[in-house]
Symmetry: C2
Subunit: 189 residues, 2 copies
């Protein structure tokens, strides 16, 4: 997606060969017009796929996923990173381990918000090793719902996330594919 | 705001005299059309106040705050609940203690994203004791920016948050004011 590619090249900050900071327009400060364009782009790419819900993982996926859900006129489901303190019955839960960050978290989804008739589009900001997307897929399968596809803002195409997900038969559309990172270097695919 | 009042009365679930679950349309599943209407309502209430940015706290404030920023055509700043692992220089930080939940967290804001010319609107989903809003205000003041007002989706008007913030001279607009909660009881103000 041209607009996001330009923004990444102009305002993204490559720290080293693994870390790309996009705090100025995606994660910490958010540009609503860019998010709207991102949402419309995802909606047009996944049009006609019978998608009933958009699913994302809190919290940096929420802004693009909301704009996607808005453009598609379907509800957004936010997978929570810690179990709700309020009610725990009928909760789907799974542990996600991030090898890049060296952390683990519990991802939860309330059972009454999804069912076997749901066909969902997963939206997330980054795809690197695919751990978060894989965790989301596990929860969606526990609910017997199906995955229509995975929409990613920025894919690190030098990492194995895409291959792992494609091996399982999932369709991935990334708006920007970063082929190489280095100190002050961003090379797109 | 009529639309949100109706939604709270129809789909909100009062667990006890303190807890109102709105997981079905605000926190866990999000209704994009409702969020758009919420954002437009905030934008019209704070029109002409010279607002340069909308500020919210991750993660349940992100959806309504993004739609508000979108309607106002200004950037959204998301205050993070844990310090960025990537870069720590020029970070404003403060500790927020939630007496209701019995938890504390660190709220952070990158210094390069805000300055003394910013006049911000704080948007959050709930106002109860005002701890989160007070923490956000501390960060905004550390950056020498100013607060134009506070927009809340659901205020628990039986708790002291509003009084504490108004004492400090802040203007608060709540779309829904809940006067009383109890098992299966929601009474609006």
């Amino acid at each position: 997606m041209k607009l996001l590619e330009e923004k990444v090249l102009k305002e993204g900050i490559a720290i080293n060969e693994n870390i790309l900071k996009v705090d100025g327009f995606i994660n910490h400060q958010v540009d609503p017009a860019l998010m709207k364009a991102i949402g419309e782009d995802f909606a047009s790419h996944f049009e006609g796929k019978g998608i009933t819900k958009v699913v994302t993982i809190e919290s940096s996926g929420i802004a693009p996923a909301l704009m996607t859900a808005s453009a598609m006129q379907v509800p957004l489901l936010i997978l929570k990173k810690s179990p709700s303190k309020v009610l725990n019955e009928n909760m789907y839960q799974t542990i996600v381990t991030s090898y890049t960050k060296g952390t683990s978290y519990e991802l939860t989804l309330a059972g009454h918000l999804i069912n076997e008739h749901d066909h969902v589009l997963i939206i997330d900001d980054f795809l690197a090793n695919g751990e978060a997307a894989t965790g989301a897929i596990r929860l969606i399968r526990k609910a017997h719902a199906t995955v229509a596809g995975i929409g990613i803002l920025i894919e690190k195409s030098f990492q194995p996330g895409r291959a792992k997900l494609e091996e399982q038969g999932f369709f991935i559309y990334s708006q920007v594919r970063v082929k190489k990172l280095g100190k002050d270097l961003i090379e797109l695919a």
